[in-house]
Symmetry: C2
Subunit: 382 residues, 2 copies
DNA sequence: CTGAAAGCGCTTACAG
DNA sequence: CTGAAAGCGCTTACAG
C-alpha cells in the first residue's frame, strides 16, 4: 500500500509530472487523449494528491477553522451543522476548535495555533478583545463572525436588541406590567455580547412602554435549562411576583416553566413566558418565542467564506443580518387581575380556560415548594 | 507580515536551520546557550512551523478526523465534545466530516477523502459495509469506532443489548406485560446497528419473562422527539393499548410523553415510559432511563487514538466497553389493573390516588442480575 | 554538539 | 500542447 505519487501516474501515462498536475486540475491546453490517459492512470493507481505537498507548493490550505465557545449547546451545534454543509460542498476541510474558557481562549489566541493552517476562520459568538483582534488580523486570512461584529471582519447577526424588544412588547401589548427578565450572567468572564443586547432590548421595551426597570425583576444564570430554573426560583422568592417572564433563550424558558410548575403557578394563566430561539422543544412546550434560523446563519457565513477563499480575490468584509420573528404559542396570555399581589398560587382565582395548559407541563411531577435544591430521586439498578 | 521561516530564525540566532529544527523539537544534544538563543529568536519573530512543510517532511499530519452521521443530535454533539477535548489537549487538529446520507457516504468512502490527510479517524455509530471497511483499511491509519465494532478496529461501545434488556426487565418487574417498543426504523438506509441491538434486548427481555413478542406493540420512527411522538400515536391507534413503553432514546421518549399527554393518558398511572440516554431533559421530565456517559465515551476513544498516533508504535486494536445504568425516576410504576382492556382514555376510571405513588421510592425495581451483566454501582458526585 | 545536503510531493513560471 | 527545473519550508540521516 505504498503511497502513489504524481510520478507514478506520470510514468504510467507516459507523460511528465507537470502534465499530470495540469491535467488533473484542468489547467492549460490539454489534448483530449492525454487527459483521458492520465485520468485512467490516476484512477487505476488510486491516486490522490498529497494535501501537504499541495499546500506547501501553493500556500493554500483548503481548510477553514470554526472556533466556538460551546460545541454541544443547541445554537452552536446547529450553527456548526450549517457551516459544515457549505464547507464540505465546496470541498474544503473543516477544523473544529473549542475555546471553552478564558484560559483556553488566551492560549489559543496568543499562540498562533491557526497560523499557516487555514484559509479562513469563523468565530462564533465570541466578543473579541483588542489583542485578540490583532492576533486574528496577523493571521492574514479572512475572519468571519456569527453573533458578534468587529471592524473589518465579515459577520452575520440577528438583531438581538430589536428582537428582544419585540418579545417584551408582545407582553406589554397583552397588558403585562410586571415583566421579569431571565438573562445570561452579565459578569461572566467570556463577555458574550448577546445577553447584553437582549437585556437592553428588554429594558428599552419597558421604558418605551412607560414602565420602570426594576432590578428585582431581573435574574440571571447560564443559558441552560438549569440556569433558567434557578433564575426563576430566585425571581419567585422575591417580594413581588412577575406576571410574565422573558427568557433570553428557550432552554432557560424551559427551566422557567419547570420552576413555575413546581410551585403550582400555571402558564399562561398565572405567568406568561416568552423564550428566544425556537428550539425544537419549544413547540413541544407550546412556548411563545423569538424564532431564528440558526443553520441558515451558519450557511450564510460559510458561503461568504467559501466565495472569498475559493475566489481569486479577497472579498471586502460585509455585515449580513438574519431575520427573526415572534412565534406566538400558548405560553403567553393577558394577565389575570389578582386581588392579592403577594398571593400564592392557591389564593388565585381559577382561570376560565384551563385547557390551554401546555402539554407536558404539570403532568409528570407532583408540585412541590420551590427551594434552591434540585429534587431528584434516583435509584440505580445493578 | 511576511511568513517567517525557519531560515529567518536560524539567521537571527546565528545557527543552521537544522539546529533550529532540532532545538525547537527538543531533539539531540543541544548546548543550553544555543537553545535559549534560538527560542528567543523564534519568539521575537513570532515563528511557528509550517504544518504543510512539516507534514511533507515527516509524513505525519498531526490531524485526526471525526466522521459522524449527525452533528446536531444530542448523542453526536456530546460525543464530539468529548473527543475534541482530548484531541486538543494532545495538540492535534480535529477535522470534522458529516456523512449524512448514503449518497454522501458513498462518495465519501469511495474517493479517498481522508487519504494522506489524517493520522487516525474515528467513526461514530456507522455500520460499515465490506467495501467501506476495505477503503478504510487502505488508508493505512488506525480507525476507531464508537457504537459499532469492526474486526481490527478499536472501538468503544455500551452494551446496548443488555442495557435494553435491563430497561424492559424493570418494566416486567413492576408487573407490566403489555410493553411496547418505540424503535428506530429497522429499514433505514444507513443501517445503524444500535436500534437493532436495542430491539433485540427488548424482545429477549420479553421472551425470558415468558411474554410473547407482539408486532402490534412495536412502532418505529427517527430518533427524535417527533419520531417518538408519531410512533406513539401509531401505538395508540391499534387494538390493544400498552401499559408501558420502552423508547430507544430519550428524545423519542419525550415525544411519547407528549403523545400520551395529548390523548389524556397519565404517566405513570396509565402508561409507564422508559427512555435511553439520560439526556439533560430526562431529569426535567422525571424520565426513567438508561444512563450513559457520552462525552466519556468520546474521551475514551480519543485517548486510544492519541496514544496510538503520538506513540512510536501503532497500538493493537482494543475493544472497550462503557457502562450504563438504569436511572429510575417517576415515569415508571406498577400498572393499574384495568377492567376494560380496550377502553379509551375517557372510558378509564380515574386513578384513585396518585399519592399512592411515593415519589421515586415505591417504584424501585428489585435489581435483578441480568445475564452477563457487569455489576457496578455508580454514584454521582456533585 | 552542529552543518550541508537530500528529500518529502507537489505547482508553476519558463522554455520550447 | 508539454518538459525540465526551481522552489515551497521543513526534517533527518550523514558527516564532521
Amino acid at each position: 500500500m505504498a503511497k502513489t505519487t504524481i510520478k507514478d501516474v506520470a510514468q504510467l501515462a507516459g507523460v511528465s509530472p507537470s502534465t499530470v498536475s495540469r491535467s488533473l486540475r484542468g489547467i492549460g491546453g490539454l489534448s483530449a487523449g492525454t487527459v483521458s490517459r492520465i485520468k485512467e492512470a490516476a484512477e487505476h493507481l488510486g491516486y490522490s494528491v498529497s494535501p501537504a505537498a499541495y499546500r506547501l507548493a501553493t500556500g493554500r490550505t483548503g481548510t477553514i477553522a470554526v472556533v466556538m465557545p460551546y460545541i454541544t449547546r443547541w445554537f452552536f451545534a446547529e450553527l456548526l451543522g450549517g457551516v459544515e454543509k457549505v464547507v464540505r460542498e465546496a470541498g474544503l476541510d473543516l477544523l473544529l476548535y473549542h475555546v471553552g474558557d478564558t484560559e483556553m481562549r488566551q492560549q489559543y489566541f496568543s499562540s498562533g495555533l491557526l497560523r499557516k493552517r487555514v484559509d479562513g476562520v469563523v468565530l462564533v459568538t465570541l466578543a473579541l478583545t483588542d489583542p485578540e483582534v490583532a492576533a486574528l488580523r496577523s493571521l492574514d486570512v479572512p475572519v468571519y463572525m456569527v453573533g458578534a461584529e468587529v471592524e473589518g471582519f465579515s459577520s452575520v447577526c440577528i438583531d438581538d436588541l430589536d428582537s428582544s424588544r419585540t418579545a417584551v412588547q408582545h407582553l406589554v401589548n397583552l397588558g403585562h406590567s410586571d415583566i421579569a427578565l431571565i438573562s445570561g450572567d452579565p459578569n461572566e468572564p467570556m463577555h458574550f455580547t448577546v445577553p447584553l443586547h437582549r437585556r437592553r432590548g428588554y429594558r428599552e421595551a419597558l421604558v418605551s412602554a412607560g414602565l420602570t426597570v426594576r432590578p428585582e425583576l431581573e435574574a440571571h444564570g447560564p443559558f441552560t435549562v438549569e440556569g433558567g430554573y434557578s433564575a426563576t426560583v430566585k425571581l419567585l422568592s422575591r417580594r413581588s411576583l412577575p406576571t410574565a417572564i422573558f427568557a433570553e433563550s428557550d432552554e432557560m424558558a424551559f427551566g422557567a416553566l419547570k420552576a413555575l410548575d413546581r410551585v403550582g403557578l400555571r402558564v399562561p394563566e398565572d405567568v406568561s413566558v416568552v423564550g428566544f430561539d425556537d428550539h425544537p422543544m419549544a413547540s413541544y412546550f407550546e412556548l411563545t418565542t423569538v424564532a431564528q434560523d440558526v443553520p441558515g446563519q451558519g450557511r450564510l457565513i460559510a458561503e461568504q467564506l467559501v466565495s472569498s477563499v475559493m475566489g481569486p480575490e479577497g472579498a471586502p468584509a460585509v455585515r449580513l443580518s438574519a431575520q427573526t420573528h415572534l412565534v406566538v404559542r400558548q405560553t403567553t396570555a393577558a394577565p389575570v387581575r389578582r386581588p392579592d399581589k403577594h398571593g400564592t398560587a392557591e389564593g388565585r382565582p381559577a382561570h376560565p380556560s384551563p385547557s390551554t395548559l401546555p402539554p407536558g407541563v404539570g403532568t409528570h411531577s407532583a408540585p412541590r415548594p420551590a427551594s434552591g435544591a434540585r429534587q431528584r430521586k434516583e435509584s440505580r439498578s445493578k
